[in-house]
Symmetry: C2
Amino acid sequence: MTDADEIDRRLITLLREDGRRTYSDMAGIVGLSVAAVKRRVNRLQEIGVITGFTVQVDHTKLGWGVEAFTELRYAGTTRVADIVASASLLPEVHAVYTIAGDPDALVQVRVRDVAHLQQVIDQLRAAGSIAGTKTLLVLGAWTRS
Amino acid sequence: MTDADEIDRRLITLLREDGRRTYSDMAGIVGLSVAAVKRRVNRLQEIGVITGFTVQVDHTKLGWGVEAFTELRYAGTTRVADIVASASLLPEVHAVYTIAGDPDALVQVRVRDVAHLQQVIDQLRAAGSIAGTKTLLVLGAWTRS
DNA sequence: AGTGAAAAAGCCATGTC
DNA sequence: GACATGGCTTTTTCACT
């Protein structure tokens, strides 16, 4: 936990809604000067609460129409770091979550079509000592903000 | 699929790395004029490839230290839209994915601690005609870029 | 921490090639 | 799409509280 007060949280919320909002815009909303808002945002970046600015992309419109989560189960000796390292090398892999219990990891992938999905799953299986996989095909997604 | 050429894709990649990059910066990298880059980025927003700008936040540092995925299984008659509508009302829910097959949905949640997780799961169960849940507790996460 | 003001940088519309 | 110009907005810094 970090010392982020109520105003810091409001600034973060505002920037999550629109990462390009201007300092003067936010200053007007939270009731501080532009310089004060800038210093707070800079500080939030320095202490690592804000880790970066980015764009949200509709991957469907770029031809990556299929999204899936693949659950991975490993042979007993596999180390967590190796799991993440090998899976994250695939460009189709969007996120890797290591899990307590069963399964051992959950991999979020984005692919062009189901044939492509098959390829990626095969590559995941080949990457380590995988005991088994189960893939959840995403039909629809809702994400906050 | 949309008509986004190689330069468009490079611009998207650049903006994913840093959503605050200036047009002149990108113009220098891709070898176009500032005005041309601006027109392309505007167009990518208009056609919905770029859906918004935002900040990446380290939720751990804000006291939301526990992340989990909860698989939901429904009674036969539940409609997908209702699932998403009810789950997305909880502020702890970060994303809802509807799934082909078993389970019916995968819900990504972020909570303060495991006691809080218990509450959220209970609320998810109460929200619809849930036949069962299984929660995957995240130990570590890797996300692209 | 916050304020206010001035300099520097970036944005954006317009016109021309 | 390139290039140039000018007006406007935003960012960034600095001295002061």
